[in-house]
C-alpha cells in the first residue's frame, strides 16, 4: 500500500530537537464497540458489568461444533457508521479468521475482515483551535477503512499468584475497527480526531463512546521525521483508553523517538503500552510470531452481501451529523461559529439545546445553555446528562425573559433556584413575587425619590449624560431589581431632561 502524504508541513506543529525541528506523524486504529443488544455472532448479551462468564453462549466459549451466525443489526450499524464517515460502502465483504493463541481468544482465531472490509475510504473533518487570534482550523483526516470484528475476552493477572483469570463476557462483542490514514501531525490533532470520531458515533447511535467502560479504545501509530521528509519507522501504542492518554502517549513517544534518532540510533518497529501512572510508553514483551496471523476467509460464514436498497434505506434514516447540525445552527438559527461549535460538540448538549430552543429565540437559548448551564455544570463537575435543570425548565426561564415578566438579572436568580430546588419557573416567579415591575406609577415614584435625594448627582448627570446610568442602578436597587430596566431608563432620562 502506498501512503499519500496529504498534509503540508506546518511549523506550528513542529517539535524542536537538538538537531532541528521534527514532525510527528500519527495514524489511529480505533476499536469502537457496536451498539447492539447481542453479540456479533451469538445471542449472548453485550451488557456491561455482569458476573464472570454470564454473558457467554456456547458459541462465544468456542465449544466444539459451535457456529457463528451474524447479527444483522451489527451490519446495519457498520453501514450507518460508514455513511456518517462519508465513506465507500462495500456491498460485498468477507469475514476472515485472524489466527493466534491467547487464553481470552477461545476460538484460537478472531473473526475479522482483512482483505475485503465492509467500509472503504472516507473522511472526518476535525477542528483544531482556537489559536491566539481565536480562530479554528478545519483539517480533513482520511479514513482508510472500517471493518467488523469480534472482541476478545478479558484476562486478569492480579487475582492469583500463579494463575490468570479468564472471563469471556466480552468475547464476541461486535467491534468496528476504524483505521485512519497517517494524516495526523500533532497530539492535539489526534485528540481532536478521537473526540470528533466519538461525537459522530454518538450522533449515529452506533457506539456509546464510553472509553472508561472500554467501548472505545485506540491503537496509536506514531513515527517522527524531519519536516516533509520520508515517513519514519512507526511504533504502535496499543489499547489507549482515554483521549487525554492518547495525547500524553503521543507526546512521550514522539520525544522518545526523537531522542533515539538524535543520538544516532534507529527505531525498532514494535508494539508498546502506555503506562498512565508514569506517563510513559514501554515495549510489550515481544512475541516472535505475533505477526503471522494466517488470515483466510472464515469457511463457517458466507460473503456478506447487500444491495443499494439496503444502503439507501439506512441512509434515509440517518440522524443529522454534527457538521450538518453546526451548519444549520449557523445558517438558520443565526448562531456564531463558536456557539454552534460548542453546542454540537456533544450530542447530548446539542439535543438539550434543540429541545430548549424549540419555538424560542435560539440565540438567547444558546447563550443560556453555553454561559449559564454549561458553566454551572462545569463548576459542579457534572455532565449534561446529570443536569438538574431540564431543557423545558430552561426554556421556561427564557420564556419569562422574553415576555418581560422577569429581567435578565432576576432570571439568573431564578436559574439558581431551579438548579437547587427544581420546580416550574413560572410558578416560582409567581409564588416568590419575582415579577418585574412595569407599573410606571410605582417606578416614577422611585425615580422621583432618588432624584430628590441626590441633587449633586443630578447636576453632574446633566453635564455628562452617561452618568444617568447611576440613577438607573439606584432605582433598580430600590425596587429589588424587579423594575423593568427599559422603563426605568426612559423615566430617568425624561426626569433629568436628557435627550433619549
Amino acid at each position: 500500500m502506498t501512503i499519500v502524504d496529504t498534509r503540508t508541513p506546518d511549523p506550528k506543529r513542529f517539535i524542536p530537537g537538538a538537531t532541528g525541528d521534527w514532525e510527528v506523524v500519527i495514524g489511529m486504529e480505533v476499536h469502537a464497540q457496536v451498539t447492539s443488544k447481542s453479540k456479533l455472532f451469538s445471542g449472548a448479551s453485550t451488557e456491561f458489568g455482569k458476573a464472570p462468564n454470564a454473558n457467554v453462549s456456547l458459541v462465544d466459549a468456542a465449544m466444539p461444533g459451535m457456529l457463528p451466525v451474524i447479527n444483522e443489526e451489527c451490519v446495519k450499524q457498520a453501514v450507518r457508521t460508514g455513511l456518517g464517515l462519508k465513506a465507500q460502502i462495500n456491498k460485498r465483504s468477507i469475514f476472515d479468521r485472524k489466527n493466534y493463541f491467547y487464553p481470552d481468544l477461545p476460538q484460537g482465531y478472531q473473526i475479522s475482515q482483512f482483505k475485503d472490509p465492509i467500509v472503504g475510504e472516507g473522511k472526518i473533518v476535525i477542528s483544531v483551535g482556537p489559536d491566539r487570534k481565536g480562530e479554528f482550523e478545519d483539517i480533513e483526516i482520511g479514513i482508510e477503512r472500517l471493518h467488523l470484528e469480534q472482541d476478545a475476552g478479558k484476562s486478569m493477572h492480579d487475582q492469583h499468584p500463579t494463575m490468570s483469570y479468564v472471563d469471556l463476557n466480552r468475547s464476541g462483542v461486535a467491534l468496528m475497527e476504524i483505521v485512519s490514514k497517517p494524516d495526523l501531525r500533532s497530539s492535539d490533532e489526534a485528540k481532536a480526531y478521537l473526540t470528533k470520531l466519538r461525537t459522530i458515533l454518538r450522533y449515529l447511535g452506533t457506539c456509546d463512546g464510553n472509553m472508561d467502560e472500554g467501548s472505545m479504545r485506540a491503537d496509536v501509530n506514531v513515527s517522527v521525521r524531519k519536516p516533509g521528509g520520508d515517513f519514519g519507522t512507526r511504533c504502535e501504542i496499543k489499547n489507549v483508553n482515554s483521549i487525554r492518554f492518547v495525547g500524553q502517549s503521543i507526546e512521550y513517544e514522539a520525544r522518545r523517538q526523537i531522542a533515539i534518532l538524535e543520538e544516532g540510533g534507529s527505531i525498532d518497529q514494535e508494539t508498546r503500552l502506555f503506562d498512565p501512572g508514569k506517563g510513559e510508553t514501554r515495549s510489550m514483551r515481544s512475541k516472535e510470531d505475533a505477526h503471522d496471523y494466517r488470515y483466510f476467509p472464515d469457511p463457517d460464514l458466507l460473503p456478506l452481501e447487500f444491495d443499494d436498497a439496503f444502503i439507501e434505506e439506512l441512509a434515509a434514516h440517518l440522524p443529522e451529523l454534527p457538521d450538518d447540525k453546526k451548519a444549520r445552527l449557523i445558517e438558520t438559527v443565526g448562531l456564531s461559529v463558536y456557539d454552534a461549535s460548542i453546542l454540537v460538540s456533544d450530542k447530548a448538549i446539542a439535543d438539550y439545546f434543540e429541545r430548549a430552543a424549540k419555538g424560542r429565540d435560539g440565540k438567547l437559548v444558546a447563550n443560556w445553555v453555553i454561559n449559564d448551564l454549561l458553566g454551572a455544570l462545569n463548576k459542579a463537575g457534572q455532565s449534561i446528562e446529570e443536569t438538574p435543570v431540564s431543557p423545558d425548565q430552561l426554556g421556561g426561564i427564557v420564556d419569562l425573559i422574553k415576555a418581560e415578566v422577569i429581567s435578565g438579572k432576576i432570571a439568573k436568580d431564578l436559574f439558581e433556584i431551579v438548579w437547587n430546588e427544581g420546580g416550574d419557573p413560572a410558578a416560582i416567579v409567581e409564588e416568590r413575587g419575582m415579577k418585574q415591575v412595569t407599573d410606571t406609577g410605582a417606578i416614577e415614584k422611585a425615580v422621583d425619590e432618588i432624584i430628590a435625594a441626590n441633587p449633586d448627582q443630578v447636576e453632574k448627570a446633566k453635564a455628562k449624560p452617561s452618568l444617568a446610568g447611576w440613577f438607573v442602578g439606584q432605582v433598580m436597587k430600590a425596587t429589588g431589581g424587579k423594575a423593568n430596566p427599559q422603563a426605568v431608563n426612559a423615566l430617568v432620562k425624561a426626569k433629568l431632561g436628557l435627550e433619549d
Binding site: P64, G65, M66, V69, G108, H291, R294, D300, L301
Partner: protein, 493 residues
C-alpha cells in the same frame, strides 16, 4: 436375537407399527449384539445402554398412543463427532479428554425428535482425519469382513469406520457419519453398506466437531438404499444456527427409492479411469454401467478435466481449515490440559499430548500453507482450482447429465497396519481419489455395494448428483442394489 438385528430400518418399522415388535426388544437385541461383538470389532467407544432402554421405553409408549415419529424406536449408533448432551463426545481424540457437552447437535436432535434410540458413540479416525480408522485414540476398528479363508484384520475404512462396521456387523440399525473427503462413502464401500454424503448445506453442521468447515457434511450409513433414504430425511433440516445450512424443504427421499431411471442421462467420467486401477474395479464399474443401461438410463461419456487436481487441492484446503478449527483445543475451557511453566508451554504440551500423529501432521501442513508468504501459492491457488473443479461438474450438468457413475474406491479394504500406507501418508490419502471431488464441489454422492473382489471383499460404486438432487441418487442406487443384491459379512466374532 440375531433375527431382530438383521432387520432393516424399514422392516423393523413395519413390525413395530404392526405391534409385532417393541423398541425395547429391538434395543435389547442390539445391546446384546454389541456386548458380544464390540471386543472384536471395537466399533463403539461408549455404549449408552441405560439411555437406550429409557429412550426405547418412551418410544414404545409413544407408539402405543399413536404418536410415532418417522424413526420411532429405531436403535442407532452415533459417530463420536456429533455432540450428544451429557454423553462422551471426543471426536475419538485424547485432547477432548472426558468432554461431555451441555448441548446436542442439530442432526442428532432431529433423530431423537423423530423417535430414534441412541445405542452409543461410534469409533472414528481422530477428528475425522483418516481413511482407515487407525488414527482413533481408542484404537482401530476391525472390519467385519475378512478375506475368505484368512483371519487377518482389515480396516473398515475411515473416518466413519465405526459407523460402517457397526452397520455391517448389525450392531445398530443405522448410523450417523460425516464425510469431508470420502469419510462416509469409502467405509461404506469397504463394508458392503450404503452411505450417502448429501449436498453441502443439507444437514446442519451445528454441534458436529469441525474438521474442515467448507467440506464437512453429515449423512447416514445404512444397510440398504431405502434405510439411507429414511435416515437422511430425518437428519436433514434447515437450521438457523448454521449459516451454511440451506433454506429448502426436505423431500421424502424414500419415495425416490425404486423410482425408474428410464431416460436419465448417466455420465461416465473418463478421468476416473486412473493409471494402475485394478481390473476388478474396472469390471465392477462396467457392470454398474450395464445395469443402469438395462434399467433404461442413457449412458454418456463425460469429461471432468480437473479431477486429478482435486486430491492435491483438498490436501491444502482441508488441513488449512483444520489447523484453524482445531486451535480451540488449547487446554483452557475443556478437555486435556498438561501443566507447563507458562501458558506457552501449557499450550504446546497439551496439544502435543492430546493430538495424535496424523492430526498433528495436518495441523502442521495447514499452518504452513496459510503462513506468511505461502498463502497465495497454496491456499488461494487451491481455492481457485476448486472453482475449476466445480465448473467441470456444472458444465456436464448443464449438458443434461443427471448423475455420474464412478467407482467408490480404488481398492477393497486393506489390512490394519498396512506398512506401505504407514510409511507414506500420501498413499493413504489416495484412498479418497474418487470421493474427494464431490466434497470439493459440494455435491451429493452415494456409495452403494455392487460386487465383491476376487478375495470376496465388498466393492462399491459411487453416484454423484446435482446439488440437492439426492432423490436421483437414491433412484439410481436402488437399481444397482437390486441388480447386485445385499452383502453381509460372515460372522467370525
Amino acid at each position: 436375537m440375531s433375527e431382530l438385528t438383521r432387520l432393516t430400518i424399514a422392516e423393523a418399522r413395519e413390525k413395530m407399527r404392526a405391534r409385532d415388535l417393541s423398541s425395547v426388544e429391538l434395543t435389547d437385541a442390539y445391546l446384546s449384539a454389541i456386548d458380544a461383538a464390540n471386543p472384536s470389532i471395537n466399533a463403539y467407544v461408549t455404549v449408552t445402554a441405560d439411555k437406550a432402554r429409557a429412550m426405547a421405553k418412551r418410544s414404545d409408549e409413544r407408539m402405543a398412543s399413536g404418536e410415532a415419529g418417522a424413526l420411532e424406536g429405531i436403535p442407532l449408533g452415533i459417530k463420536d463427532l456429533f455432540a450428544t448432551e451429557g454423553v462422551h463426545t471426543q471426536a475419538c481424540s485424547h485432547i477432548l479428554n472426558s468432554f461431555e457437552p451441555r448441548y446436542e447437535s442439530t442432526v442428532t436432535s432431529n433423530l431423537w425428535n423423530d423417535g430414534a434410540v441412541m445405542l452409543g458413540k461410534l469409533n472414528m479416525d481422530e477428528f475425522a482425519m483418516g481413511s482407515s480408522n487407525e488414527t482413533s485414540y481408542y484404537g482401530p476398528v476391525v472390519n467385519p469382513w475378512r478375506v475368505e479363508g484368512s483371519n487377518k484384520s482389515l480396516v473398515p475404512g475411515g473416518s466413519s469406520g465405526g459407523s460402517a462396521a457397526a452397520v455391517a456387523a448389525e450392531l445398530c440399525a443405522g448410523a450417523t457419519a460425516t464425510d469431508t473427503g470420502g469419510s462416509i462413502r469409502q467405509p461404506a464401500a469397504f463394508t458392503g453398506t450404503v452411505g450417502i454424503k448429501p449436498t453441502y448445506g443439507r444437514c446442519s453442521r451445528f454441534g458436529i466437531v469441525a474438521f474442515a468447515s467448507s467440506l464437512d457434511q453429515a449423512g447416514p450409513i445404512a444397510r440398504d438404499v431405502r434405510d439411507a433414504a429414511i435416515m437422511l430425511r430425518s437428519m436433514a433440516s434447515t437450521d438457523a444456527k448454521d449459516t451454511t445450512s440451506v433454506d429448502r424443504a426436505v423431500p421424502d427421499y424414500e419415495a425416490a427409492v425404486g423410482r425408474s431411471v428410464k431416460g436419465l442421462k448417466i455420465g461416465i467420467p473418463k478421468e476416473y479411469r486412473v493409471d494402475g486401477m485394478p481390473g476388478e474395479i474396472d469390471a465392477l464399474w462396467q457392470q454398474g454401467i450395464d445395469w443402469l443401461k438395462e434399467a433404461g438410463a442413457e449412458i454418456v461419456e463425460i469429461s471432468l478435466p480437473h479431477t486429478k487436481y482435486a486430491l492435491p487441492a483438498y490436501y491444502i484446503v482441508a488441513p488449512a481449515e483444520a489447523s484453524s478449527n482445531l486451535a480451540r483445543y488449547d487446554g483452557v475451557r475443556y478437555g486435556l490440559r498438561q501443566q507447563g511453566r507458562d501458558i506457552l508451554e501449557m499450550y504446546e504440551k497439551t496439544r502435543a499430548e492430546g493430538f495424535g500423529e496424523e492430526v498433528q501432521r495436518r495441523i502442521m501442513i495447514g499452518t504452513y500453507v496459510l503462513s506468511a508468504g505461502y498463502y497465495d501459492a497454496y491456499y488461494l491457488k487451491a481455492q481457485k482450482v476448486r472453482t475449476l473443479i466445480k465448473r467441470d461438474f456444472e458444465t456436464v450438468f448443464a449438458d443434461g447429465v443427471d448423475a455420474i457413475l464412478t467407482p467408490a474406491t480404488p481398492s477393497a479394504a486393506f489390512e490394519i497396519g498396512d506398512a506401505e500406507m504407514a510409511a507414506d501418508p500420501v498413499k493413504m490419502y489416495l484412498n479418497d481419489i474418487f470421493t474427494v471431488t464431490v466434497n470439493m464441489a459440494g455435491l451429493p454422492g452415494i456409495a452403494v455395494p455392487a460386487g465383491t473382489s476376487t478375495d470376496g471383499l465388498p466393492l462399491g460404486l459411487q453416484l454423484i448428483g446435482r446439488p440437492f438432487d439426492e432423490e436421483t441418487l437414491f433412484a439410481a442406487a436402488s437399481v444397482v442394489e437390486k441388480a447386485a443384491g445385499r452383502f453381509t459379512p460372515k460372522r467370525w466374532w
